[in-house]
């Protein structure tokens, strides 16, 4: 099988029903997407497929069409994405486990809605965080979109 991931063509063997998450993590050693629930409920495994957020734990690899971007693919060398910069400015993460997914969900949101309101953020940011970083995620999204937090 072949997929375009973070700008590179990657070739691999996998059972066709293997979720994209496990192809990325176990076969291609791309560890940014995390395993949380396996049922698309928490979003820790979020990746972008052609810019759209997808919960890769519930996405069989043989059905994947499009270019995949993981957290490893949104920065440009040492230059971080503006969402990552905002995450640092607000010191968003605690345990950090859900944050790859949160950041990619935020990148996708800002792609669709450049200046999201609180309601837009509530609606789009459905990824779960057990540490309770939501207030800072919201503030960081505002900052990344150029709005005062």
């Amino acid at each position: 099988m072949q997929l375009r991931i973070n700008g590179e063509i990657r070739t691999f063997d996998a059972e066709p029903d293997t979720p994209l998450l496990w192809v990325l993590r176990d076969i291609l050693d791309i560890k940014g997407p995390k395993f949380g629930c396996g049922v698309a409920a928490c979003g820790a495994c979020t990746v972008l497929v052609d810019g759209q957020p997808v919960r890769s734990c519930s996405y069989p690899v043989d059905g994947v069409e499009g270019e995949i971007t993981t957290i490893e693919g949104i920065s440009n060398g040492d230059t971080l994405h503006r969402v990552q910069e905002a995450w640092i400015e607000h010191q968003v993460p605690q345990c950090g486990y859900c944050q790859s997914g949160q950041i990619l969900a935020a990148v996708a949101l800002l792609g669709a809605v450049p200046e999201p309101t609180d309601e837009d953020i509530d609606l789009a940011m459905t990824n779960l965080c057990r540490c309770g970083t939501y207030p800072r995620i919201k503030a960081a999204i505002k900052t990344a979109s150029g709005q005062g937090a």
């Binding site: 176990d26 605690q94 944050q99």
Partner: protein
């Protein structure tokens, strides 16, 4: 003499995990030799490196490495422990590299054991101090390297600053020797020793090899608080870069050459084993290499060994097993019956019995009110499911795990593999959430069990979310029956609280120190009920340990997680019976005891922040709760909008931990702790049917999301005489403040958790 004391202590420690009660009652003295002896320094200097103590090493290239030997599970402890060293070493935090470091007794946590002493935090004096000091000694002698009980800052405060001061003193002495001047004329600044008069300076890297040879006789005086340049100020988290780039820092990210992948399927009935099984279909799953039986002190079942995690998961699903019966009541009704039986029987402990409660009820000077409260079992639900990696070769066993207790992992896994613990290396990595769950040993034990079947290849064993939810060490179900005699317009004359729950400490000890028995009362059973800032004339709190063998463990704030709901919910009922405002009533309950000034301080502060005395719009309500937990005083006001489905709108909290190391990290812990509590109120519960946990995954065990999350305003005070914890203090008051707010808005008194059983919340 020393020898005799040592052997006496050795026997006791081998047989009994002492709780403070046993220490006090038994009058046991620890041998001074053991208490005063320092543990060996596990750090060995590499080429071009100087080691000053178990916490600080400096390389000739100027790299300063600080060992931060506590589990980083989000609380920012690596940042704060490193900041303590930075403060005394006179370097910016940004110049320090942190490492969790090896597993060693030198990294014992005396602070956590000290919190286990029975006297309330505001009690001082000979008896209370002696008990705390005995408990602290036990932490040191046992060499307990554990992260828990909100104790890392309390434990590390002197230790880490002294480690920095010791290194600095050695560096200064080395420079003084080099320049043949007195150390007194030298200063340190930004990683260099400076001799201003002689216009000389040398970096720490230049001095380190000479400095490492210097014997520091006496650790210099530590800086006073007003001179702090790093502590007390917001710092950038030392782990921030990894955590915004998806770096492979967690246990689940471990990757080793030739690594296999696995999962487990452990009996869903705790304590039971398989009666029969059929692994034909499981073995037929492509990628499945082997199915093996597992038998450990924490559970019995099967391990699936595969070429990737997904294949292991499918193998587990295909494995057909008939499990034995549960050795406890099979459903919620049976469990509740055990709690009722316990609460109706004589109490198993009473850590508070003041005045004459029976006389006060026999001749009541006021209205008698009574209430029954209850809470269910709860799961931790860390975002990263349980997992560990293990490799067993001729050289020994190596474990990689996000653990809160690496020393216990080392000894338990050694026992399973039949090795001496010196042949077991535990590498502690970052934790994708802990909350008490990762102080357990089941996940590294199962990885070890599988590694014993892989011919020397490493294996990463990851649990499914369903396995994680159904095999937790749960926050106990609990019940309280309370009554009070309340005069009109004044505080209660007498209060009685009976609390029934399965006891946590014996359950934990059976898994972590199976050769020991737990002796003495279990403080956690009534923690947050008996030791609160109240000054009733007649007050009794009894604990009633219930006979239930479902595994229970430390869940963020432990006993406080349910006792604060009981205590502060019933407090509002007392206020109502007295015809008093909940704030005024609480202040009246504290009256007459100067030691409770910090409690009054946080209450008045949160009242001011929230405009408590002002009016609340129609359909909305505000509730108040306070707590003294893990040495920190906290008061919280929650505002709800109950015009439609209940929405938690706004939360104000004031906390007083005495000294704040990092105000942002502390604030974030209070917020996160409160969200953890609200999440439980919004619908978390673990139910039992057929001896098994009903809930499976986030679809039936979920927690607060972005839409449900309120706004927060947090203020920190620093008046308390002792340093208090941060990690757990936001959780206890969240639930009662919310329940009291709902009562204020709707007139509906909520006495059972989750509150969602009785009211509808937004988005639930």
């Amino acid at each position: 003499m020393a020898r005799k004391k040592k052997s006496l202590f050795g026997k006791i420690v081998r047989r009994t995990f002492l709780t403070a009660g046993a220490v006090a009652v038994g009058g046991v003295a620890f041998g001074a030799y053991l208490v005063n002896r320092d543990h060996d320094n596990p750090l060995v200097a590499g080429e071009g490196e100087g080691v000053f103590n178990p916490f600080v090493k400096i390389a000739t290239d100027g790299t300063i490495t600080v060992i931060t030997p506590r589990a980083e599970m989000g609380q920012g402890i690596h940042t704060t422990l490193a900041a303590m060293v930075a403060e005394e070493l006179d370097v910016p935090l940004s110049s320090i590299t942190t490492e969790h470091g090896p597993t060693a007794a030198a990294y014992y946590n005396a602070g956590m054991m000290e919190e286990g002493a029975f006297p309330p935090a505001f009690h001082s004096g000979l008896g209370a101090d002696a008990q705390r000091s005995l408990m602290a000694s036990m932490g040191k002698v046992l060499g307990l390297q554990v992260t828990g009980g909100s104790s890392s800052v309390i434990d590390g405060f002197d230790k880490m600053r002294e480690a920095g001061a010791e290194a600095r003193a050695a560096l200064v002495t080395a420079a003084a020797n080099r320049w043949s001047v007195s150390p007194d004329v030298l200063q340190t600044e930004n990683g260099s020793v400076i001799y201003a008069a002689g216009e000389q300076s040398a970096t720490y890297g230049e001095l380190v090899l000479e400095a490492a040879e210097v014997e520091v006789e006496e650790i210099p005086a530590l800086k006073s608080r007003r001179d702090w340049a790093v502590l007390g100020k917001r710092q950038m988290r030392t782990d921030i870069a990894e955590k915004v780039t998806g770096a492979p820092i967690y246990g689940i990210d471990v990757q080793l050459p030739d690594m296999l992948y696995g999962t487990v399927k452990i009996s869903p009935r705790f304590g039971a084993a398989a009666v029969s099984f059929d692994d034909t279909a499981a073995r037929a799953v492509p990628g499945v290499l082997d199915i093996v039986e597992i038998e450990t002190t924490t559970g019995k079942g099967f391990g699936i060994i595969a070429t990737n995690t997904w294949a292991a998961f499918k193998g587990a699903e295909a494995l057909q097993v008939e499990w034995g019966d549960a050795p406890y009541p099979a459903d919620d009704a049976g469990i509740t019956n055990r709690l009722v039986a316990a609460i109706e029987a004589e109490g198993t402990q009473s850590l508070m019995d003041r005045g004459d409660v029976d006389a006060a009820f026999a001749d009541p000077q006021g209205t008698i009110i009574e209430a029954e409260y209850s809470v269910p079992y709860l799961a931790h639900a860390t975002m990263e499911p349980m997992n560990a990696t293990a490799q067993l070769t001729e050289e020994g066993l190596t474990i990689w795990a996000g653990t809160q207790a690496p020393g216990i992992v080392q000894s338990r896994c050694a026992a399973l593999a039949g090795l001496d613990k010196d042949n077991v290396t535990v590498n502690t990595v970052f934790l994708g959430g802990g909350f008490g769950r990762r102080g357990e040993v089941d996940f590294p034990l199962y990885a070890t069990a599988l590694a014993m079947q892989t011919d020397g290849k490493p294996i990463k064993v990851t649990w499914t979310r369903e396995e994680d939810t159904t095999h937790d060490t749960y926050r106990p179900a609990a019940m309280a029956r309370m009554r009070a005699v309340v005069p009109e317009g004044a505080r209660a004359d007498a209060v009685e609280m009976k609390v029934a729950a399965p006891s946590i400490i014996p359950s934990v000890i059976a898994r972590t120190y199976p050769n020991l028995s737990a002796a003495g009362p279990d403080k956690t059973l009534t923690d947050g009920a008996y030791n609160q800032p109240v000054n009733y004339d007649n007050f009794r709190v009894s604990g009633h340990a219930a006979d239930l063998s479902i595994p229970v463990g430390f869940w963020r704030s432990v006993g406080h997680s349910y006792n604060c709901f009981f205590h502060e919910g019933f407090m509002d009922e007392q206020a109502e019976a007295a015809g008093m405002d909940p704030l005024a009533y609480r202040l009246a309950v504290m009256e007459g005891d100067d030691r409770l000034d910090p409690a009054r301080g946080v209450l008045n502060k949160v009242a001011e922040m929230s405009g408590w005395r002002g009016s609340v719009p129609q359909g909305k309500g505000r509730g108040l709760a306070q707590s003294l937990c893990f040495g920190t005083w906290i008061a919280m006001v929650v505002q709800v909008d109950a015009t439609d489905d209940i929405r938690i709108e706004k939360v104000w909290a004031a906390a007083d931990p005495g000294t704040v190391m990092d105000p942002r990290l502390f604030r974030d812990q209070v917020i996160g702790g409160a969200i953890y509590g609200f999440s439980a109120a919004l619908g978390e519960e673990i139910n039992f049917e057929d001896g098994q946990v009903v809930q499976q995954n986030f679809w039936d065990y979920s927690f607060m999301n972005m839409e449900q999350c309120p706004e927060f305003e947090i203020e920190l005070l620093q008046t308390s005489p002792h340093i208090g914890g941060a990690g757990e203090v936001g959780t206890p008051p969240a639930v009662p403040a919310l329940a009291n707010a709902i009562y204020a808005a709707t007139g509906q008194r909520l006495r059972q958790m989750p509150l969602s059983r009785d009211v509808r919340f937004l988005g639930v």
